[in-house]
């Protein structure tokens, strides 16, 4: 940023509750002395995530901002990134220079990924509590995000998940792209996550980093009690971008 470039924009996607906010807290805890970091959260109903991160005390409060996404968290990171883009730009200009801006998706389901119009790189967060077979299910985030984090590995024994097996399945689904098992209770895993961010930042600053689009949403299921069959499958193809659910 100080060399006239903007901050590295890093997206954090993944289903609700897997540990997106916690991953941001982990990254900030490990890297706050090394990089000037800002955070944008995308909550669905409240500014819970922004509050959680402010309470965690990992960054000065004013560098954590919430964006409201009108009940459609996936639209805000893909079909219409305008609110997030403006929020990121405002944060960068208010705290110039920033090195890294982390954008937390509101969290939806397995299918939502960030548009390269918003972020330079993205990590996708799953957790062991979601079940050992989730990593095999694939989809754009699991398969093609720049990094897949399997979080809460400390919980493996408590939820009957073989963590090593889950990591292997994930590596296979990603054809060698990076996968990290992380627990905030195991410092070396947090350090490995920080090392990955450090490396992406170094590539970004050198101009060696090319944003990769994990691809559009896969067909997915929306639970809806009132619909026949308790929900519906759909894709977010063109013409359906501003759908309501």
């Amino acid at each position: 940023m100080s060399n006239g470039k903007r901050a590295l924009r890093l997206g954090i996607a993944g289903p609700v509750g897997t540990g997106k906010s916690s991953s941001i807290a982990n990254i900030c805890t490990a890297l706050a002395d090394e990089f000037r970091i800002g955070v944008i959260t995308n909550d669905i109903y409240t500014d819970e995530d922004a509050r959680f991160l402010k309470a965690a005390g990992v960054l000065p409060e004013e560098r954590i901002r919430a964006v409201e996404t009108g009940a459609c968290p996936h639209t805000a990171i893909r079909d219409d990134v305008s609110m997030n883009l403006l929020a990121v730009e405002a944060l960068e200009s208010d705290f110039d220079p920033l090195d890294i801006v982390l954008v937390e998706s509101g969290g939806d389901n397995l299918t939502a990924t960030f548009s390269p119009a918003l972020v330079d790189a993205q990590l996708f967060v799953l957790d062991v509590a979601g079940g050992g077979d989730v990593a095999r299910k694939g989809g754009p985030g699991i398969g093609r995000a720049d990094l897949l984090v399997i979080n809460k590995i400390d919980l493996g024994p408590h939820v009957d998940v073989d963590v090593e097996q889950m990591l292997d399945d994930a590596r296979e689904a990603r054809e060698g792209q990076p996968v990290l098992g992380v627990s905030r209770k195991i410092p070396e895993t947090v350090e490995a996550l920080a090392a990955w961010v450090r490396e992406v930042h170094a590539r970004f600053v050198k101009g060696d980093h090319t944003p990769v689009d994990p691809g559009p949403m896969a067909p997915h299921f929306h639970a809806d009690e009132e619909a026949d069959g308790g929900g519906y499958m759909h894709t977010h193809e063109e013409g359906e971008a501003a759908h309501t659910h």
Binding site: I44, Y45, T46, D47, E68, T69, G70, A71, C72, T75, A76, D79, D80, V81, S82, M83, L85, L86, E89, A241, A242, T244, H245
Partner: protein, 245 residues
């Protein structure tokens, strides 16, 4: 050039300008028990059309008329040389736009609504600069109320002032009508039927807005609706909400 196709693009709710995160006060009106069913929604939409909708449309027309008749409608080359941006500044009647903005703010008692108006205006400007690069938009001031930005966007897209007004009015009713299906037990077909039922009123209001907007801006009536001002203030204080406004 008067472009029908550009009009349709601008009026399309899928245009990525952040509008989908807003319900135009409907969420709070439902929470307060002011709107409970399809008849309530019809009344809400009619009220919005004839108050804030008409007034905002008149200001969009006034902004359109404050800009030069010969504003080029061709996209600017991607390079932004100083020569081009000064062309933008020349076209831009900045003082007149700021006066219009002040007139509109004077007719918008709620501080929350003023903040939302300038946020949406800045979002629309940010998005349109990417969607349709143009020296007028590059030179256009940030933080102006959304209707003022609509006036400029109508100009650079080659719309007439009355069509620009029609777009503002269209958004004033389609925004809350589409939000309604996420907020209440309502048949989405009926919600759209409510919009169609207002078609004649909308057309007529666009012409009235054009008449107001072509005259002395100080004479544009203050048509804001007190309950929407209350709703906006109450909404800001609500911690749990689906829509930003």
């Amino acid at each position: 050039m008067r472009s029908r196709s550009a009009l349709l693009v601008l009026a399309d709710g899928r245009l990525p300008t952040g509008g989908y995160a807003h319900s135009a006060g409907l969420e709070q009106a439902i929470r307060q028990g002011w709107v409970n069913d399809i008849d309530g929604l019809r009344d809400f939409l009619r009220g919005r059309l004839h108050t804030t909708g008409l007034m905002n449309a008149a200001f969009a027309v006034a902004a359109w008329n404050a800009l030069e008749e010969d504003t080029p409608t061709e996209a600017a080359p991607t390079s932004t040389s100083t020569a081009e941006s000064s062309t933008g500044t020349d076209i831009l009647a900045e003082a007149a736009l700021r006066d219009l903005d002040a007139e509109l703010i004077a007719r918008t008692p709620s501080p929350a609504l003023r903040r939302i108006g300038s946020w949406l205006g800045t979002l629309m400007l940010r998005s349109m600069r990417s969607i349709h690069p143009h020296p007028l938009l590059d030179a256009f001031p940030k933080d102006l109320q959304q209707p003022i930005v609509y006036g400029a966007v109508g100009r650079v897209l080659g719309l007439s002032d009355a069509d620009t007004a029609a777009t503002v009015l269209h958004e004033a009713v389609t925004g809350p009508a589409t939000a309604a299906v996420k907020l209440m037990h309502i048949d989405p077909f009926q919600a759209h039927g409510a919009i169609i039922d207002l078609a004649y009123d909308l057309d007529e209001a666009a012409e009235r807005a054009a008449d107001f907007g072509r005259g002395d801006p100080a004479e544009i009536p203050a048509l804001s609706a007190p309950l929407s001002d209350f709703a906006a203030e109450l909404h800001e204080g609500d911690n749990v909400r689906l829509f930003a406004s």
